[in-house]
Amino acid sequence: MNGRNETIIMEHISIKNICKKYGQGESSVKALDNVSLEIAKGEVCVILGPSGSGKSTLLNMIGGLDRVDSGTITVDGMEITSLNKKQLTDYRREKLGMVFQAYNLIPELNVIENVRVVKDITKEPLDEKELLHVLGLEKHMMHFPSELSGGQQQRCSIARALVKNPALLLCDELTGALDSASARDVLRVLQTINEQYHTTIIMITHDERIAGMADVLVRIMDGRIVECISKEKLKVEELGI
């Protein structure tokens, strides 16, 4: 488990020895090489790494967007690596929220309608208006994506992911397209959500500044986890002990 302390009581996500290779023969690239990781419920896991390190591949595997060559991923006791296409869709539908670097809002829908895109397929959704209020978008509910700033669009994207009250929130380069102020703003929102709803959050980024909000910090390089630090250790490091 790459050096992480065994102090977490409730294991939420368990990744064991996953490998993923793209291409064939000499031109093949090992995107993930025997990666193992465990994340407890309610934790914020930040995965850091340069471009091409395999962090997006890892996120895709956890999100059930791509399949592993070998190894297993278990989320909430469900081994998602053995699910078929339909079951994977149901898994994403019921357990997963996802926030994209490019926001991916539907341009033809306004803010509240974009949130309803997910609410409509959720069994027990949160109140979208309340959520937008928490995210500071209550005045922009009738605005279209083209009328919002990057930060506002990203908050809308977060609202869309959270309206289903997901067990797991995956964030792909959350602040990649934002200026510093907007990025801080969005991260603050995410922290609030984590505290309020105990949502497990996995963020991939190459922005070192985000590491500060991590319970678990994972560094990945050439498809391998090179470092995995728990919150306790991070605090110790912060304190300089």
Binding site: R92, E94, A102, N104, E108, L109, E113, M142
Partner: protein
């Protein structure tokens, strides 16, 4: 030009566009070549037969025989050729053999197949003594081969070969028929001696005669007819335009050229719209490249030429395959149309000019439309083009704040936000629905004639007995009429003037206005009114076909009868116009067959014979409607496939994102492709009045050549059935669309936008 390679390499990327435009171009070119080649083949072969065999310009029946002196006098005075035609009808079982004495001047025989083989050269042939020459189809149906014996009268003759007469190319036993009965009727040609021998062998056979005339000077036709009337008082006169044995194929030539050229044009226009639309999308999507090329020094004209290649690829490919497919299609089409007449050898006349025109036409159209679109889009300056990058989607903020479900709101915004795409879909699907509906409406209209108009047409009468001359007195079980054919100036098709007694109960006469008919008024059937363009209160001028005298009457009202071209009036009025006494009659309506000597009977029409010939007509048109239905379904599938592909391409990120969010494929399809679902019934509904209008134009066009106007009737069940066909085609294309949706990668949404 290196740049040109880009266009060819984009074929895979824009495959749906190329497949749709190629296919539509191919179908349009194939139809155009098929129709024009068939028209050319029919026209050439017929005119060759008519010309080489000296087909009559008119035929007439006189009460007495024209003397040899008068024949010569007419020929000299009026610059014409006149010949008496003798025939006798021989009944053999259920079959009728119309035995003709060989002609020497007009309507010459062409023996195209003998024991020595078949010949395509249309040359007048001489008939050998003791031999009989029959129609090939009759021979095939009745196992009568060349060399077989046949008993005519009490004479045994040998079948010497297969032959035809130009005035019986469409071998109709009676001119009231529309389709020949090739298994039960044939003409047979023998020489003078054999004819006399057959006639003398059986006393029950009667020698019938009429005169055929070929005019060399059109200006003398009317004076000849007046002289003839003064000398011999003809009882029937038919110009070749009025004789469907001769005019039917000429009418088909006109119909083929007119109808199929318009079908092809509709498809060409549809292709042009698609090309213009797709080209503007391609250019719009390549604005950065365009800006870069402009900045590198490419002239607008060079870029213009580059984008013209995009339009040329499908049009040249489609035209090429269209021309290739046009060759066998023309052959099949010719065979189909020649099947309506008796068998004879013909050669398909492929015209290089037609093929070149059909090839060039779509290419020129598409180059023109692409040149216009490109020049408009390339007017922007390089910096602006480079800045623009990927097209920013315009969003129509319709229904903002509405309580409707987001899927519904999304659908309306997508439709309004892409007006050009929406228009292309509407046009494409409306055209496809029209093509599909056209066959159905034509069949409904024809079936309506069969099921409603024909039973109505004869009123209470079951039999109509036409007499060779006027008679007086009463007829047991029958009601008498005056029935004379009149011509209308500048119209090819004549009408019949019917004079009836006030107490006639068998003749159907209900006005469209609902007003009762006044005895002594003039009433025109709706079939005639539509054809001649006459309404109630209009003056109507016509010409006596035999005397050539002109008359004008005022039409009081229109009678509901689409099948027949008649003017009804009192017997007194009719007698005055015809020049006979009101006591005379030449037609009898009855509910049972009437007792009239057979030699007095010109024709007996009964409801069953009308029905039979119309049913045969329906059977022959089925193939054309099947072609239309197939083309319409394919157009529908291709159009939906093309536009679904576009929608999916535009919404790649949305589709990918929806998949990530946990939407199932069917749910995504319902969101992304739903705007099409909404438009489909709209297009179908729009297609209904347009198809009714188009069918009406077709029926009017067909009435111009055939003289029979068929009112357009559409049954609700047909509309439902054809909507199900359109819907099925749509569902099939959705299947392809869903496969495209399936191929969208979920990882697309994780990528930063280009």
């Amino acid at each position: 030009m290196t740049l040109g390679r880009k266009a060819f390499r984009s074929v895979r990327k824009n495959l749906s566009f190329y497949v749709v435009t190629c296919f539509l171009t191919m179908v349009a070119v194939t139809m155009l070549i098929g129709a024009l080649t068939t028209a050319e083949t029919i026209g050439d072969n017929c005119e060759e037969i008519y010309g080489n065999l000296n087909v009559e310009d008119a035929q007439f029946v006189t009460e007495g025989i024209i003397t040899e002196e008068d024949l010569l006098r007419y020929e000299t005075d009026f610059d014409l050729v006149l010949e008496r035609q003798n025939y006798t009808d021989i009944i053999i079982g259920d079959n009728t053999v119309r035995l003709f004495k060989e002609s020497s001047e007009v309507n010459l025989s062409w023996i195209f197949e003998t024991e020595d083989g078949e010949s395509e050269d249309v040359v007048p042939s001489s008939v050998s003594d003791g031999y009989v020459y029959i129609c090939k189809k009759f021979g095939s149906f009745n196992n009568l081969s060349i060399g077989n014996d046949i008993i005519l009268g009490n004479e045994t003759l040998t079948v010497g070969g297969y032959a035809l007469r130009p005035d019986y190319l469409n071998t109709l036993k009676d001119l009231t028929e529309t389709i020949g009965d090739y298994s039960g009727f044939t003409i047979a040609l023998v020489n003078d001696d054999t004819y006399e021998a057959v006639l003398n062998s059986d006393p029950s056979l009667t020698d019938n005669a009429y005169y055929s005339v070929v005019f060399h000077d059109g200006n003398k036709i009317n004076t000849f007819r007046k002289a003839l009337y003064a000398d011999y008082r003809p009882i029937e006169y038919f110009s070749s335009d009025m004789n469907s044995r001769i005019s039917m194929l000429r009418g088909e030539v006109v119909m083929l050229k007119k109808e199929f050229s318009s079908y092809s044009m509709i498809l060409f226009v549809l292709v042009m719209i698609i090309v213009a639309f797709m080209l503007s999308r391609i250019i719009d999507g390549e604005s950065v490249n365009l800006g870069t090329l402009k900045a590198l020094g490419y002239k607008e004209s060079e870029l213009n030429r580059h984008y013209v290649i995009y339009a040329m690829i499908p049009s040249v490919t489609g035209s090429f395959f269209g021309v290739l497919a046009g060759i066998p299609f023309s052959r099949a089409f010719c065979a189909y149309f020649f099947n309506d007449v008796d068998s004879f050898p013909y050669s398909v006349r492929y015209s290089v000019v037609i093929m070149v025109i059909a090839f060039i036409l779509p290419v020129v159209f598409n180059i023109a439309v692409s040149a216009v679109v490109t020049s408009v889009l390339l007017r922007r300056d390089a910096a602006m083009l480079m800045k623009k990058g990927k097209t920013v989607r315009k969003v129509r903020k319709l229904l903002n704040g509405s309580k409707l479900r987001f899927k519904t709101v999304y659908m309306f915004r997508v439709l309004a936000g892409n007006p050009v795409r929406t228009m292309v879909f509407i046009i494409g699907m409306t055209v496809a629905s029209m093509i599909i509906l056209l066959g159905g409406m034509c069949q409904d209209s024809q079936r309506n004639v069969l099921e409603n108009v024909l039973p109505d047409m004869m009123g209470e009468a079951k039999y109509e007995t036409g007499l060779k001359s006027f008679h007086t007195g009463t007829v047991e079980n029958g009601q008498t009429l005056i029935d004379v054919t009149f011509e209308v100036p500048n119209k090819k098709v004549a009408f019949n003037l019917i004079g009836y007694d006030e107490d006639n109960t068998l003749l159907k006469r209900e006005s469209l206005s609902g007003k009762p008919l006044t005895y002594g008024g003039y009433y025109m059937t709706s079939g005639a009114a539509n054809y001649y363009g006459i309404g109630a209160g209009d003056d109507f001028t016509f010409v006596h076909r035999i005397t050539g005298e002109e008359r004008t009457v005022t039409i009081d009202d229109i009678i509901d009868n689409d099948a027949l071209r008649l003017v009804l009036t009192s017997k007194e009025n009719a007698a005055y116009l015809v020049g006979v006494s009101p006591d005379e009659y030449n037609n009898i309506l009855s509910e049972v067959p009437v007792d009239v000597p057979s030699e007095e009977i010109l024709k007996i029409a009964d409801f069953d014979s009308y029905q039979d010939s119309f049913e045969q007509l329906l059977a022959t048109t089925k193939v054309v409607y099947a072609i239309l239905l197939t083309v319409g379904i394919i157009v529908c599938i291709l159009m939906v496939n093309l536009l679904s592909g576009m929608i999916i391409d535009e919404n790649r990120r949305n589709v990918s994102m929806l998949k990530v969010l946990g939407y199932h494929g069917s749910e995504i399809s319902r969101i992304i492709l739903r705007p099409n679902h909404f438009l489909l019934p709209c297009c179908y509904i729009l297609a209904i009045p347009l198809t009714i209008y188009m069918t009406r134009l077709m029926m009017i066009g067909s009435a111009e050549s055939s003289g029979v106007y068929i009112d357009v009737v559409v049954k609700p069940v047909t509309l439902v059935l054809y909507f199900l066909i359109v819907l099925s085609a749509y569902v099939v294309s959705l299947f392809f669309g869903n496969r495209k949706l399936d191929r969208v990668d979920m990882a697309d949404s994780l990528k930063q936008e280009d």
